[in-house]
Amino acid sequence: MNLNVSPSPAGAVIETDAVIIGAGPAGLFSVFELGLVDIKAHVVDILDKPGGQCAELYPEKPIYDIPGLPSVTGQDLINRLLQQIEPFGAQFHFSERVEVLERLPDERFRLKTDAGTEFITKVVVIAAGGGSFMPKRPPLTGIEAYEGTSVLYSVRRMEALRDKSVLIVGGGDSALDWTLNLQPLAKSLTLLHRRDEFRAAPHSVEKMRQLVASGAIRLMIGQVSAIHGTGDALEAATVKTKDGEERIDVDVMLPFFGLTMKLGPVADWGLQLHENLIPVDTEKFETSEKGIFAVGDINTYPGKLKLILSGFHEVALMAQQAAKYVYPDKKVLFQYTTSSSSLQKKLGVN
């Protein structure tokens, strides 16, 4: 699949017709429906790949209620959608989260991501599903105080961990990869996992076992029950193992418990919200702000069902209204892809 993925230079401002927030099924199909009415789109997603929940939560699981596809896996559905939207050449921005969304004096919108990418756009489509995928925070008392300084969910600068006592918690690929990467520069490294079985690439597990055998790292089987420190500086962790509790010195803890969905910055954009969902009308799927639409799992309206097929319907109606904002002087002629030569030209099939 050819995706236009742009690691856009920080500070660059991209002017466009539409920005779609979220690359799940509703976001991807927005590219299609907007494309049919000549609206070019940029798509931003916090994950490093397209697909949203389909790709992150159930890539291998079959879905049985996509009309015309009696059974399709999450990943296969995404692959098919990518193929279907390919003619429209949407630009993708992965591993970025839209932090700022505000209206400009000329009625357009300004968006800014956490990576510094800025967009000026005529319409915004929020297709953010359950919100942003974010690392799970272990529910340990007082953990918030240490986050960003001595409790890290990702490592941006390895050098910052040189000569530190590092505690890595988890048993998946992230936990194993960081164990192997950080061991050479950490003062000491403890890998803590709840069981002596790892769900990670076999060669990483093997390397880790060798490091444990040579005494370069310590492997503990158990769980963190408490953390201790002063201010934002972690000092120790209490680890519960089957032999009892042990307190170990820790400067930095890296917990890897997978991802969870949180509404995130959507809550800060001045949109009317109802129980963490965005109310929309059922004619245009527009939010309380003109020109900002919400489609798929993140919206709510009477009778809403969180189904992929409902998202597809919402997207089609949304695009009709979006066209009125992007091309105020143009009358949108309703056409079928089966018979319209102009639509077929856009799809590259004619």
Binding site: Q53, L57, Y58, K136, P138, P139, R195, Q223, F257, G258
Partner: protein, 106 residues
């Protein structure tokens, strides 16, 4: 009909009446049992429907599959009795089942 007792961390009990064939997670959601989030909707992909099965019932509910065991790595305060409630299918034999809801699901 299958009767299930959910015990919250504060000790409060909620008895729900449900049907065989549903999962324990589905029964919890249908009866608004607090603390069962089931973010992924039952795909064994999130570990937010974690429960502790009462010791007397552990044999009847069985042991976690490899996939469930892997996903339990993403749960908090995992114990011997830990299960993901979306992976327990209710049968008439489970009438009377008692489970505890953990303090937190992450």
């Amino acid at each position: 009909m299958v009767k299930i007792t959910f015990i919250q961390p504060d000790g409060s009990e909620q008895v729900v009446e449900t049907e065989p064939g549903l999962t324990l997670m589905e029964s919890a959601k249908m009866n608004d049992v607090p603390g069962i989030e089931a973010e992924c909707g039952g795909a064994c992909a999130c570990a937010t429907c974690h429960v502790y099965v009462d010791d007397a019932w552990r044999e009847k509910t069985g042991t976690p599959s490899q996939m469930e065991e892997d996903m339990l790595d993403f749960a908090f305060d995992v114990r011997e009795a830990s299960r993901l409630s979306c992976q327990i299918k209710l049968t008439p034999e489970l009438d009377g089942l008692i489970v505890r809801v953990p303090e937190k699901q992450f």
